[in-house]
């Protein structure tokens, strides 16, 4: 079925399935789908290109506190899909009979209807190819273009219906000078403008000039550093890995454990929230609960709130705030600071301008100590001027330094970054982040 028909198809399927439920049974259903073009580039030519049209239906079949979950791909053919759904429901009934009651089960019993459509204008399928192949002709460009419609729908046998769809594009590329010396950029959003992508490609080409200089090989040690928003995305990505979920806090697995046990704090200028305004995430979650506009997580450097899934709400006897079961933020936003964005090089003075970080992981999770590498667009700066690119460096430092006692300032402008992740399906997550100036960042290799 076409993407535009998916909403009515979900309604039809769940209405049909509801008619076949046994007395006392409740069915929750979530449809996920996308119609996406993917074009992969290397050396400013096409490596792989194609289209993916996929729809799947996740089901939770409930009887009292007993339930079982399953998902099935949808073919679009009503007869086939009815057969598949029947088979799944039969299997779920059989599995459910072998399971005990689930004390943590919690689902929406609402019967309301919501709709959230983010209309966009992705380009015609070949237009992005033209823009890249022609705009970067003769250059060594590598990247990915992903565009099209993504959608989520929730429907329950209790009558609730929620629908979300977004038509977005995300063109992300790196432009290489030699070896691993490259700039990184992206053009993502709702309304494609060829002039904008052309201007961004031209800017990337101009950035290459600095990458041609002899790279600096810096010894391990502490360096003053500016982390651009894309680098901050990696830092926030690590904090999001258990940092804000209630379950991770109650089971002492959060990387922010010292905030809980010792009252550790970030710098007072750090304010972090889950904020759906400006994001591209659905405003409901898979058990049917709606999400508030925002959830404050860190305020004035102190931990103030958790993301709470329905299961955690039951387990720990608190209210859910619409988090998915993983309790990771999906639209994280960090408030801007006072550092003039235009002045970051002069404010940095002498040190490292870090455009991107790469492959972060915890070297001591409980202490929020993180390691990772510098990558694209990272330069040695002296006297507020870019001097040369650097050979990649490994950092190993705690967030309590980087966002705490060594944070010199956050930029006065934030950047919205639509997550380019495409594992299994195109991500609907986003980040809104400032850059950060750090008095000293520890590098070890």
């Amino acid at each position: 079925m076409k993407a535009d028909d998916a909403r009515s198809y979900l309604d039809e399927l769940v209405t049909w399935a509801t008619a076949g439920l046994s007395a006392g049974e409740v069915l929750l259903a979530q449809l996920s789908g996308e119609d996406s073009d993917f074009v992969r580039f290397n050396h400013a030519a096409v490596r792989q290109a194609g289209n993916v049209a996929q729809r799947s239906l996740a089901l939770d079949l409930i009887d009292g506190q007993r339930h079982a979950e399953g998902s099935v791909s949808l073919t679009g053919d009503v007869k086939t899909d009815h057969g598949r759904i029947s088979a799944v429901l039969s299997e779920l009934r059989a599995v459910r009979a072998a399971l005990p009651a689930d004390p943590h089960l919690l689902y929406s019993t609402d019967a309301g209807t919501t709709e959230h459509l983010i209309g966009g204008g992705p380009p015609q399928p070949g237009e992005a190819v033209d823009a890249v192949v022609e705009g970067a002709a003769g250059r060594d460009l590598v990247g990915i273009y992903a565009a099209g419609q993504t959608f989520r729908g929730f429907a329950s046998s209790l009558g609730q219906r929620n629908w979300f769809s977004a038509a977005t594009f995300n063109l992300e590329w790196s432009l290489h000078h030699h070896a691993d010396k490259a700039t990184k950029s992206a053009y993502a959003g709702l309304q494609w403008d060829r002039d904008v992508v052309g201007a961004k490609l031209d800017w990337s080409i101009r950035e290459l000039e600095a990458l041609g200089r002899t790279p600096r090989s810096l010894p391990p040690g502490g360096y003053r550093a500016y982390l651009a928003p894309a680098a901050m995305q990696e830092i926030m990505g690590m904090l999001s890995w258990g940092g804000f979920g209630l379950r991770a806090h109650r089971t002492k697995q959060t990387p922010l454990l010292r905030m809980v046990t010792e009252g550790a704090e970030f710098h007072p200028s750090v304010r972090i929230a889950e904020d759906f305004s400006g994001g591209v995430a659905p405003d409901f979650q898979s058990a049917g609960f709606s999400r508030p506009d925002s959830v404050n997580l860190v305020d004035e450097g102190r931990f103030v709130g958790h993301l709470v899934s329905p299961r955690s709400a039951q387990e720990y006897s608190v209210e859910t705030n619409g988090a998915e079961d993983h309790e990771f933020p999906v639209a994280i936003a960090m408030a801007p600071g006072r550092l003039p964005t235009a002045d970051v090089l002069s404010e940095l003075g002498t040190g490292l301008y870090i455009g991107n970080l790469w492959y972060l992981n915890f070297s001591d999770r409980a202490a929020c100590r993180t390691t990772g590498m510098t990558r694209f667009g990272t330069f040695w700066v002296e006297g507020g001027e870019i001097v040369a690119p650097i050979e990649v460096l490994r950092f190993d430092d705690t967030a309590y330094h980087l966002l705490g006692d060594r944070l010199a300032g956050l930029t006065d402008q934030t950047e919205t970054i639509l997550d380019s992740s495409t594992y299994e399906e195109r991500s609907m997550e986003s980040f809104r982040l400032p850059g950060a100036l750090v008095e000293e960042m520890t590098f070890t290799l």
Binding site: S36, F38, N42, H43, A45, V46, R47, Q48, A49, G50, N51, V52, A53, Q54, H67, E69, G70, S71, S73, T75, G76, D77, T80, R84, A87, V88, E91, V95, A98, L99, D102, V129, V142, G143, I144, A146, W173, H176, A179, D180, K184, T251, K252, Q253, Y359, L360, N361, S363, R365, A366, T371, G372, M373, R375, V392, R394, T398, T422, Y423, R426
Partner: protein, 480 residues
């Protein structure tokens, strides 16, 4: 011949264009299920039926794909039209000219000694409840979270080509998992059942290979013991890696650098490039002469064994590093044609909705002739590290830092007390040259979550290795 849905197979064949330079349809059905018990509560059971098809069309120097879960005649027709349209749009703009792909015919099925279904859902739950109880460590209040789970993946793929190719493969994989997390104040320590390393192809026998039924009590005891253990010491010393850390070391600092698509630059915007360059093959000293590495999709029970890759290239055991010298990369037929280098059958897709790219399959360090005791006996001061917990490496796959769940001090040739937060760092290009001992306890394992590619793909890779000893490694612990 393995029987699949004949009508679907006929319809897939009929949908393929007849005038392409090469066309294929790859249909994949993956049925998965997972049961888990956490802190005495049976978590929601999860099952999935993921099914779809990808058509690929090569025509006049262009190539495109169309993938869909819509298996109606109309859905198939639209997917083929998408593939043809992208082949047309990329004509003259594609980095790949002309197809080197084969029209292979063959079949493969995982060896299954004890069918997984012999254990019904109630029995599985019972097994997991028993494991969960043991993970509580005798109701030790310091254990604050624990979980036990069993996941299975049954995957059937069929690759049809317009030249009569037909490859059918049935893969059965089992992923067991155990975890105990202990806490005191600001100190939290977790111990697992090899993280994802103890997965394999097969049925219930996968659980027996590493003692799933008996492992929980030891995991709980070690999680608690780590709370009281000192931090791993810092310094340059000998390091012994257990097989469930070797899998990660192989994966990150041999596997990824040898992927030919990285060497060709395809991954530079995402997963990265490689410090390995084409002229190194045949001469480069990758490691000490104790290092022998094979790409081996023939190991029975290993998680990524198969007879053909997802481009239909027949798979066979190949030495990539012999006596320390780099022999050849891991690249599928397309990368081989682009580079002029030899390769292996490693073009793999994470599912029907992603195109194949160069991946690891089973990548193994071959056993040596020392016992583990002999490896340790030769160490004056060092650390043995078990079970990966942290991994980070630069985009050229050179500067790495890895952490493990548990370390054991080695002093004067004897294993000593455990230490917490053990980490080590090094550089791939020199680390393997310091390989000073390879034990004979070849252990077949896995890495369950390898991410790569644009659009992104996560696959399961197999790795096997014995205990290995490395000299002069920078070792350190966590925050005080």
């Amino acid at each position: 011949m393995t029987v699949i849905d004949v009508s679907l197979e006929d319809r897939l064949r009929a949908a393929m264009p007849s005038d392409a330079d090469y066309a294929s349809a790859r249909h994949v059905v993956e049925r998965a299920s997972r049961l888990a018990v956490r802190n005495g509560v049976v978590e929601p059971s999860a099952s999935s039926h993921d099914e779809g098809v990808m058509f690929v069309v090569w025509r006049d120097g262009g190539v495109g794909y169309g993938a869909t879960s819509d298996l109606s005649d109309q859905g198939l027709r639209v997917a083929v039209e998408q593939a043809e349209a992208w082949a047309e749009r990329t004509r003259g703009r594609s980095i790949v000219e002309g197809t080197p792909l084969l029209h292979s015919v063959g079949e493969y099925s995982s060896m299954v000694a004890q069918p997984f279904d012999a254990l019904d859902v109630a029995d599985q739950v019972g097994l997991l409840i028993d494991a969960d109880i043991a993970l509580a460590g005798g109701d030790d209040q310091r254990i604050v979270d624990r979980s036990a789970s069993l996941a299975r993946f049954d995957t059937r793929s069929i690759l049809l080509t317009d030249g009569g190719g037909r490859v059918v493969q049935d893969i059965r994989q089992v992923f067991p998992s155990l975890r105990a997390t202990a806490n005191e104040g600001s100190n939290t320590q977790s111990r697992t059942y090899g993280r994802t390393a103890f997965a394999g192809q097969g049925g219930l026998e996968v659980l027996e290979r590493h003692g799933f039924r008996e492992a929980s009590a030891k995991i709980a005891a070690e999680a608690v013991a780590l709370l009281d253990a000192p931090n791993c010491p810092s310094g340059t010393m000998d390091l012994v890696l257990a097989p469930d850390q070797m899998v990660l070391q192989i994966h990150e600092s041999i596997g990824h650098p040898l992927e030919l698509d990285r060497i060709l630059g395809d991954e530079r915007n995402y997963a990265g490039t490689s410090f390995v360059t084409p002229e190194m093959f045949g001469t480069y000293q990758y490691g000490s002469d104790l290092l022998n590495v094979t790409f081996d999709p023939t190991v029975s029970g290993q998680v990524a064994s198969y007879a053909f890759d997802d481009d239909g290239t027949p798979a066979e055991r190949t030495h990539l590093i012999r006596d320390g010298i780099l022999q050849q990369p891991m690249g599928g037929s397309i990368s081989q044609a682009r580079s002029g280098l030899a390769g292996v059958a490693n073009s793999r897709a994470s599912g029907w909705n992603r195109p194949p790219i160069d991946r690891m399959a089973n990548l193994n360090v071959e056993p040596g002739d020392s016992t583990v005791d002999e490896l340790i006996g030769g160490i004056e001061r060092g650390v043995l590290m078990e079970t990966n917990v942290s991994w980070s490496i630069d985009d050229s796959r050179n500067k790495f830092q890895f952490g493990t769940e548990l370390g054991r001090l080695i002093e004067d040739g004897e294993l000593g007390s455990i230490v917490r937060n053990p980490n080590y760092r090094g550089i791939s290009a020199t680390f393997w040259r310091n390989l000073s001992g390879v034990a004979d306890d070849f252990t077949v394992m896995a890495v369950g979550n390898c991410g790569k590619g644009e659009p992104n793909q996560q696959i399961r890779a197999g790795h096997a290795a014995p205990h290995c000893r490395f000299a002069d490694v920078e070792v350190f612990g966590g925050e005080a």
